[in-house]
Amino acid sequence: MKKALALLLVLSACSSTPDPRPLSIPEAERLALVRFSNYTTGTSAFTASVPSPGGKLVLDGRVDFVNHLGYAGMRTDGRDDQFSKGLVQWNLGRMAFAINPSTKPIDPIPVVDWQVRELRERGSELDGALRLLVNLGSDRPENAQLLLQSSARWLRSDKIGDTAVDIFEGPKKDKADARLRYWLDQDGKLRRLEAKLGNQEELAVFDFTGSGDPVKVIPPLVS
C-alpha cells in the first residue's frame, strides 16, 4: 500500500508540471491590469540584470511609472574599473549617464557631469532595458477580452522567496518578437519581468522589490 501511495504521489507530482496553456478569465484580467497596477504604485524600487556583449549590466534603482522616469546605479558585472560604474537617469526618449563609484542611486542627486543621449530603438540591450522599464506603467488597463483570445499564455507557478507567483507570457506581436514573461503575485503585482533583449540568449531579469521614493528629474532631462 505504501508503495502504491508513493507511486501515486510521484505521478501526481509529474502531472502538476503542466504545459503552457491559454489564460483563464481571472488570469486575463490579472495580466490586463499589470501596467495600471504599476501606475497606481507610482514609483517602484527595482534591480536588473541585463546581459550585453560587454558583460552583464547590473542596475539597482527606482522607476516612476507615472512620469516614465528611471534613476539607478549601474555597474558591469566582473569589472571594477572607473568606467564600469555610474549613475543613470532616463525617460521615454533619452538617457543621462555619469561616471560614479556608487552602484545605487544617490539622493539627493549629486552634481555630476551628465552625458546625455537619445535612447536607441535597436541594437543596445541597455537601451532596450531602460525603455522597457519606463513603459511598464499606464493610466489604464489593457483589454482583458482581447488578451483572453490572444496568444498570451500561462507558463507555470513558482515562488519568489515566500511569495507565490504565476508566470505569464505576454502576447506575440510579430512572429519574430520574443515575448515578455510576467511574474505576478496573487494580488496582480508585477514581481519580476523577464525579457529577451537584442541577440542575447540569456534573458534580462528585472525584480521589483516594493514602492520607492519619488525620482527627481535632473535638469538635462527636463524637456
Binding site: D139, P141, L146, Q149, K175
Partner: protein
C-alpha cells in the same frame, strides 16, 4: 475530536440544500429579500426580474441565467461601485438579459460587459488575421438590452458588447472611460442597435471594432470626448474587415475635451474616424466643431476603406471637415460623399495633433443627473433608421455636462 467531522457534515448538508432550493421567479427585491444583487441573480429563475433599491453595491455581478432583468428603482442612486479595485460591474454571459436604470462606476475594466467569450480563449492572432471564431466554443451571446444605464469612471469601456449579437444599448450615458464610453466589438452579423445614448469626457465616445452587418448607431450624442465616434478593422479581433454599419442622426461635436483620459494613440479633436471599413453608411449626422478633423477615413494595416457612403450629413466648423487618409499599403476605392465627391487611392496622412495631457479615468467629473427609465414599455428594438434626421446641437443637451 469528533466535533469537526460533525461540523463538516453540517456544512455539506447546508451546501446541498441550498443548491436544491427552488429558484425564485417574478420580482426579487434587493436588498429587502436578498442582500446582494449577486445573491438575487443566483437565486433567480429564468425570466425573473431583480429590482434593486438605492444603495452603493460593492460587488461584481456575474449573470449566467437566461432572460433575467436587473432594474434599479433610481438610476442615479442604485450604484454598483468597483472602488477602482474590481474589474467589471456587471458581466452578462447568458442570453436575453436586460440591465436597466442604474449606475456602474469605478471599475478597473468595464462598467457593463456582455460577452460570449468564456474561459481559455487562447485564439491567437494570425499573420493573415482571422475571420473564423469557433461558434461551438465561443457562441456569441444571443440577445441583450442595456437601457438607461449610467457608466462612469470605468477604466476601459463604459458599456461593452463583445462577441454578442441581437442587442440594444439605449438611453444610456458614459463618461470617464479611459478607452470608449460605448464599444461594440467582434460580431457578424451584429444585429445591434446603439441609440439615444450620450458619451462625453471619454477618450472615445463610441467605438465599433469588427462590428459588421445590421449594426446601427443612431441618434446619439457623442460630444465633448477626445474622439467622438469610430469604426475600425482590427486583427486582434475576429471577423476582419469591419463592414456594413449604419451611422445615422448622431451629433458628433466639439470632441476636444481636455478633462478626459488621454486617447491611447494620442488622438484629439477628431469627430468621426473610420479605419479600414467597408460599405458603411454615414447619413444625416451633424459633425461640427471638432478642432482637428471632422471626418477621417483611412486604412487599417492592409485593410482599405472601400465603398463607404456619406450622405446628407452636415459637416462644418471642424479644423478640417473631411480628411481622406488611405495609406499606400491599403489604398481605398469608391468612398463617396453625397454621391458626387468620391475618394480613391492613396490619401493624405492624418496629422498628429497636439493633445493636452489626459487625466486619470477615476478623476473625471461625476455625471450630471440622468433621466429615469419611463414606466411605459421600452420601444421595439427595430432600428427604424428612416426616422432619424440631422440632429441639432442641443440633442440631449439636458443630459450632458459638456456644452456643444
Amino acid at each position: 475530536m469528533r466535533a469537526p467531522y460533525t461540523l463538516t457534515a453540517l456544512f455539506l448538508v447546508a451546501g446541498c440544500s441550498s443548491a436544491a432550493s427552488p429558484k425564485l421567479g417574478g420580482e426579487i427585491a434587493v436588498p429587502a429579500q436578498l442582500g446582494t444583487i449577486q445573491a438575487a441573480v443566483d437565486a433567480a429563475q429564468e425570466g425573473a426580474t431583480i429590482v434593486v433599491s438605492p444603495g452603493v453595491y460593492k460587488e461584481s455581478v456575474q449573470v449566467r441565467t437566461k432572460g433575467l432583468t436587473i432594474r434599479g428603482t433610481q438610476r442615479g442612486s442604485v450604484i454598483i461601485d468597483g472602488e477602482v479595485k474590481r474589474a467589471n460591474g456587471i458581466v452578462v454571459t447568458a442570453p436575453d438579459v436586460s440591465v436597466q436604470n442604474l449606475t456602474v462606476r469605478n471599475h478597473t475594466l468595464n462598467g457593463v460587459l456582455v460577452t460570449g467569450l468564456s474561459e481559455n480563449g487562447g485564439m491567437g492572432r494570425g499573420s493573415n488575421g482571422y475571420t473564423k471564431l469557433d461558434p461551438q466554443k465561443f457562441p456569441p451571446v444571443q440577445g441583450f438590452r442595456v437601457s438607461y444605464v449610467t457608466a462612469s469612471n470605468n477604466a476601459l469601456y463604459g458599456i461593452y458588447a463583445f462577441d454578442a449579437q441581437h442587442g440594444v444599448i439605449e438611453q444610456s450615458y458614459a463618461s470617464g472611460s479611459a478607452d470608449s464610453g460605448f464599444y461594440v466589438g467582434q460580431c457578424k452579423p451584429c444585429d445591434i442597435v446603439v441609440r439615444g445614448n450620450v458619451a462625453e469626457r471619454n477618450a472615445v465616445g463610441y467605438e465599433g471594432t469588427n462590428a459588421s452587418g445590421q449594426m446601427y448607431v443612431l441618434g446619439n450624442r457623442f460630444s465633448g470626448n477626445r474622439v467622438g465616434m469610430t469604426s475600425n478593422s482590427d486583427y486582434q479581433e475576429a471577423f476582419v474587415p469591419q463592414e456594413d454599419a449604419t451611422f445615422t442622426g448622431n451629433l458628433v461635436s466639439d470632441n476636444a475635451e481636455a478633462l478626459s483620459p488621454a486617447q491611447a494613440d494620442g488622438a484629439f479633436g477628431l469627430g468621426l474616424g473610420i479605419a479600414g471599413g467597408t460599405r458603411n453608411l454615414v447619413s444625416r449626422n451633424l459633425i461640427t466643431g471638432n478642432p482637428g478633423t471632422g471626418v477621417a477615413l483611412g486604412s487599417s494595416e492592409d485593410m482599405a476603406p472601400l465603398d463607404n457612403l456619406f450622405d446628407g450629413n452636415v459637416i462644418n466648423h471642424n479644423g478640417q471637415d473631411v480628411l481622406y487618409a488611405a495609406s499606400k499599403r491599403a489604398p481605398g476605392r469608391n468612398n463617396c460623399f453625397a454621391r458626387e465627391r468620391c475618394y480613391d487611392g492613396v490619401g493624405d496622412p492624418l496629422p498628429k495633433p497636439s493633445a493636452p495631457r489626459g487625466i486619470p479615468f477615476n478623476q473625471v467629473a461625476a455625471p450630471p443627473l440622468q433621466p429615469e427609465m419611463p414606466k411605459d414599455p421600452l420601444p421595439d428594438k427595430a432600428p427604424n433608421v428612416e426616422k432619424y434626421g440631422v440632429p441639432t446641437e442641443d440633442l440631449f443637451s439636458d443630459r450632458a455636462a459638456v456644452r456643444s
